[in-house]
């Protein structure tokens, strides 16, 4: 079965003081190829740990991950990652950053340039390609990060709060871009976010996680990502279902936060 299967994943961190933290417990997700999954939850619910395990940066305590019927061991180019910030190589120009993956594979100069040029067109940075990345604004830097990830033709794109550090206006624009790229490339995407609105807008599927131990609390199938393709995202937000779902999830997360606070006080 193609797609990404996360099967009974558990992760325990042993601390030096002989206690341990159960970051994830029995998390299973079955993702079909081309689906966009948003993962939402209060801080400390293990969503970044989950992503790091899927990326292969962490080995889980138990459970396994299968991508296109192959078990995943360690990091690999078929799972691209977009980080929140600061993961671009500032000693390289925009063009070199985007071409990093193909260059590591030893691709010849000409096909590499074609890929890079095409992707710079897609993210709208053609005229900035010779600039240093630190000369660009935060939103443009994230466009470079997206293009760099796509240049490698990954099967799955993992996004760890990629828009978290952007201002509200840029963020809206970038949400539109993520949707557009998702539709045009047909990639499987896992998007971690702490913004309920963003999760609703972008997630075709949405998982709300609960903390201590990190686990799946509730799962949704949402129509908004489909509606958002080719439409103003602000129109989508006006949809009555959008507001109800948002309130439902917000109060769900509020309850969890309160539980944590209450637990800490006891």
């Amino acid at each position: 079965m193609p797609g990404l299967q996360i099967d009974k994943l558990s992760m325990r961190f042993d601390l030096p003081n002989r206690t341990s933290v159960q970051a994830l417990e029995d998390v299973s997700i079955d993702l079909k190829a081309g689906e966009l999954l948003a993962v939402l939850g209060p801080s400390g619910c293990g969503k970044t740990t989950l992503l790091n395990i899927v990326a292969g940066f962490l080995a889980p305590t138990s459970g396994e991950i299968t991508l296109n019927e192959k078990r995943v061991h360690g990091p690999g180019a078929e799972r691209g990652m977009v980080f929140q910030q600061g993961a671009l190589f500032e000693w390289m120009s925009v063009r070199e950053n985007v071409g990093f993956g193909p260059r590591m594979k030893g691709m010849a100069e000409k096909p590499k340039r074609e890929i890079v040029d095409h992707l710079l067109d897609v993210v709208g940075l053609q005229e900035f390609k010779e600039k240093a990345v630190y000369e660009l604004s935060g939103g443009m830097q994230q466009r470079v990060a997206l293009a760099r990830c796509l240049a490698n033709e990954p099967d799955v794109i993992l996004m760890d709060e990629p828009l978290g550090a952007l201002d509200a206006l840029t963020r809206e624009k970038m949400q539109g871009l993520v949707l557009k790229l998702w539709k045009e490339t047909g990639k499987t995407i896992i998007l971690i976010t702490h913004s309920v609105e963003e999760a609703l807008l972008l997630g075709e599927r949405l998982i709300v996680m609960a903390p201590r131990p990190g686990r799946i609390h509730k799962e949704y199938n949402l129509p908004f990502a489909e509606m958002g393709v080719g439409q103003d995202l602000r129109e989508v937000k006006k949809h009555p279902d959008f507001a109800t779902t948002r309130e439902e999830i917000l109060s769900m997360i509020w309850d969890m936060e309160e539980e944590i606070m209450g637990g800490a006080a006891k």
């Binding site: 990091p75 799972r79 993961a87 000693w91 590591m104 594979k105």
Partner: protein
């Protein structure tokens, strides 16, 4: 009171500095011209300064050639860190000047001894700079490179080394400054030629103008070295501090 009835006061000249203690700027300048053309102690001025610079550059380069790989090894391998961290951390606060007697015993007062001293002055600074450059790499950059399909060696070559260059440049600037200070001090102790020897000998003959001239030249050269390093830094690692 003059014959015409006006007060005529001649102010006291006060305590006058004699040129033997503090010569006038003109005297220092004219002595500079004299030494620049005639030389000092069988060597031209350029030779004196050139010898000091030569020692600094050779000592610094040797220190960098050994120190940078040592720092990389310490940043990348726990084994290396375990063995060398105590040595480096112990040697770093020892002023290089305190090593002069030992170096003289081991290697004599010739060129070799001075270069060993400068090598040691630069070595620890460069090792620490290279190590902090390596361990200062953001983990998300390494992760990003891994998920873009880079091998360990490629990550070393394309991520860790470029990421450490700004730190290494900062270390190099500090090391050049320390080396320049150390070479002058080492030449004060014993040398045939060199900026430090020049002012030491001049002071024995109470030639204050030469001493002052030497101090000013040493200052100018030290400052020039630092400016050149800064310029090289801007040119070679423009991404410094932009990560």
């Amino acid at each position: 009171m003059t014959a015409k009835g006006t007060l005529n006061i001649k102010p006291s000249t006060g305590w006058q500095m004699e040129p033997i203690w503090l010569p006038s700027p003109e005297a220092v300048l004219s002595r500079l011209g004299e030494i620049a053309t005639l030389g000092f102690r069988n060597s031209t001025l350029a030779e004196h300064l050139g010898f000091s610079l030569f020692r600094v550059i050779v000592g610094f380069l040797l220190g960098a050639i050994v120190g940078i790989p040592l720092g990389y090894a310490m940043g990348l391998s726990n084994w290396f860190r375990g063995w060398f961290d105590p040595i480096v951390e112990f040697m770093r606060p020892v002023p290089p000047l305190a090593l002069i007697p030992l170096v003289i015993i081991w290697a004599g007062i010739g060129e070799v001894g001075k270069i060993i001293l400068l090598f040691l002055a630069a070595l620890w600074i460069m090792a620490i700079a290279a190590r902090s450059g390596v361990s200062g790499v953001r983990i998300s950059k390494v992760h990003a490179a891994y998920s873009l399909g880079a091998s360990k060696w490629q990550i070393m070559r394309h991520v860790i080394i470029p990421n450490s260059l700004p730190e290494i440049f900062t270390g190099a600037r500090v090391a050049m400054g320390v080396c320049w200070g150390t070479v002058v001090a080492a030449e004060l102790v014993a040398a045939e030629k060199g900026a430090g020897m020049m002012i030491m000998v001049a002071s024995k003959f109470q030639s204050t103008d030469i001493v002052l001239m030497g101090i000013i030249l040493i200052g100018i050269i030290g400052f020039t070295i630092d400016m050149l390093m800064r310029w090289a830094e801007r040119w070679l690692v423009p991404w410094k501090g932009k990560g």
